[in-house]
């Protein structure tokens, strides 16, 4: 294998494919480079997630080799901008650029898995819409591997479109994407949130994303990047039953002002200390108290309808929920200090963020 290309093209491709490379499996610590004509494909995988990046290069000799991902990326990043030539000979890779020359040992390619193409229908979605939806939902998925189902994002058919749902059992984010039928009626799949996080990083590469949902895998193609992920096998919690039918108390506030207040008050919510909202018809205050550190208190402009209530939240979860909620005005709807609260954007029905309060004495 032998080819020439711009350093920056290679830096980006190695970086993107390298994000799927296994950190623990020695046989998969490499990136498979495959050259056919002027088309170079770099593939990284940890068996659960595979990312392949195709780039146009000036090819001289076709071939395939597995190169050490981290070392190759570090070398290519370190060399001066401009042209770079790569050549594989027997068991080593030669990288030449200007006065620099590196020769690095290849990784045995026997262990590199062979990807099978998915035999399922391809759907096309607008990248921008999907990116916004993923940003709003993926954050609510759990990072706790001991509860694998909760590390996934549910993609389920809903009306004429589909729905994304994630929960870590303390909060739940749900986003509807209407008029985008990528699933059969009643069909749902559970996609690892890690894979969707990686997908979100590359969605700006093209206006469209092609989606294939198989029985055990899902594939996404965005421009020159293809991402294949294993699906999570298991039953997602019955999220519909978690959403209360009505909330008697509603606080309506300006989103930006509320966010600024929360960021200030959160400074005094140390360790696992929550922020409290004291809400009554006379006004609303946000309070954080950390023993031996101090107290923060700020009144909030807004309208409150309901009974007097003090409710506490994990400040980070509250912040993240409001950050992803669009619009100028938002509502925080509550039942009491122990039942889930709902954050909603006024006039926007597609997104729902459900948040459990924190019990305080």
């Amino acid at each position: 294998m032998k080819f020439k290309c711009e350093r920056d093209v290679l830096v980006e491709a190695l970086s993107t494919a390298g994000r799927a490379v296994s950190k623990n499996l020695p046989g998969l610590s490499g990136i498979q480079a495959s050259l056919e004509g002027n088309q170079l494909t770099l593939t990284g995988t940890d068996r659960d997630l595979t990312i392949a990046v195709t780039s146009q290069v000036s090819g001289t000799e076709n071939g395939t080799a597995v190169i050490p991902a981290r070392l190759a990326a570090e070398i290519v990043k370190a060399i001066k901008p401009g042209g770079v030539e790569l050549e594989v000979s027997e068991d080593s890779l030669l990288i030449q650029s200007g006065r620099s020359e590196f020769s690095i040992r290849l990784i045995t390619s026997d262990e590199f898995p062979h990807l099978k193409p998915l035999d399922s229908e391809t759907f096309t979605l607008a990248s921008e819409d999907l990116a916004e939806s993923l940003k709003q939902v993926v954050l609510a998925a759990s990072s706790d591997d001991s509860r694998p189902i909760l590390t996934g994002v549910l993609l389920a058919a809903e009306g004429e479109g589909f729905r994304l749902v994630a929960t870590d059992s303390y909060r739940l984010a749900m986003r509807d994407i209407p008029n985008a039928a990528v699933l059969r009626q009643g069909q749902s799949v559970l996609i690892p949130s890690k894979a969707l996080g990686e997908l979100n990083r590359v969605l700006d590469k093209s206006e469209k994303v092609q989606v294939q949902l198989g029985e055990t895998e899902a594939a996404f193609e965005v421009g020159d990047v293809k991402l294949v992920t294993r699906l999570i096998d298991g039953e997602f919690p019955n999220y519909r039953g978690l959403i209360p039918e009505s909330h008697p108390n509603t606080l309506k506030v300006n989103r930006s002002e509320f966010l600024e207040t929360l960021r200030r008050v959160k400074l005094l919510a140390r360790e696992s200390t929550p922020v409290r909202l004291e809400m009554s018809s006379e006004g609303t205050e946000m309070i954080a108290v950390t023993q031996d550190v101090g107290t923060a208190r700020e009144s909030i402009e807004g309208t409150y309808e309901g009974s007097d209530l003090t409710v506490a939240f994990n400040p980070q979860y509250l912040l993240e929920g409001i950050e992803v909620t669009p619009g100028e005005e938002i509502t925080l709807s509550t039942i009491d200090e122990l039942k889930p609260a709902l954050i909603h954007s006024v006039g926007v029905e597609e997104l729902l963020y459900l948040l459990m309060p924190v019990r305080v004495s």
Binding site: L25, E111, T167, R230, R270, E271, S361
Partner: protein, 219 residues
């Protein structure tokens, strides 16, 4: 735990196809049925594995492991160098140093996690016989001496009893009551504490350091 050291070839068929060429490897078959294949490197991660539940079929020169997802892990054994079984018995819980000190730090920051309304007066309150972990006051103004242990045993209760006797003689801090705090408190220690009017309270270390997050959950 069964450990087989063998010259072997491994083929995996499932989500992806993978092939490990012939080499010396360690095959671990755990009591719960998990099968893991390790090389002499690569830190803690196996090169290939199959978690339980699965079905293991063994022949002289091969091990075939299958599961309900139609995944197949096939190990062809060319030479069996060693094959041993060990009974590991029950797994004791992981013990870590520094937990007690960290518990003290966390509870000093938030004494309300011990009991509602508690306010810290002094961390490491020194008496002539040693320091009590926390000296607090409750909403009525009564002093509360708190002794913190990772595992609550009888000797911890005895230690707190001695502190209480000492602090109780100080008119500035009398009356004083005691709270014995630990991640886990042994039943004998609880009985002894209660017989002496000392409250015995178990705390959740993960919750205190923010790992368990809010105690209320959606499901």
């Amino acid at each position: 735990m069964r450990l087989i050291v063998a010259d072997c070839t491994v083929n995996y068929r499932g989500r992806l196809d993978a092939h490990l060429p012939r080499a010396h490897r360690l095959i671990m078959i755990k009591a719960d049925g998990c099968v893991a294949i390790h090389s002499d490197g690569g830190a803690y991660k196996p090169m290939n594995w199959m978690t339980s539940p699965n079905i293991l079929v063994e022949e002289d020169d091969s091990l075939r492991v299958t599961n309900n997802d139609d995944e197949l892990l096939e190990i062809s054994i060319h030479c069996r160098i060693s094959d041993t079984n060990y009974d590991f018995g029950d797994e004791p819980s992981l013990q870590k140093d520094g937990v007690e000190a960290h518990l003290q730090e966390l509870l000093a920051i938030n004494p309300q996690e011990i009991q509602e309304g508690l306010v810290l007066v002094k961390k490491e309150y020194y008496t002539d016989i040693g320091p009590v972990d926390l000296l607090c006051q409750d909403p009525t103004g009564e002093y509360v001496a708190v002794e913190i242990k990772r595992r609550g045993e009888i000797d911890g209760v005895e230690q707190l009893t001695r502190y209480l006797e000492f602090i109780g003689k100080d008119p500035d801090h009398s009356p004083v009551r005691g709270i014995f705090v630990a991640q886990i408190i042994k039943p004998q220690a609880k009985v002894l504490a209660e017989s002496r009017g000392i409250a015995a309270i178990e705390v959740d270390y993960d919750h205190l350091r923010g790992l368990r997050r809010p105690q209320l959950s959606l499901f």
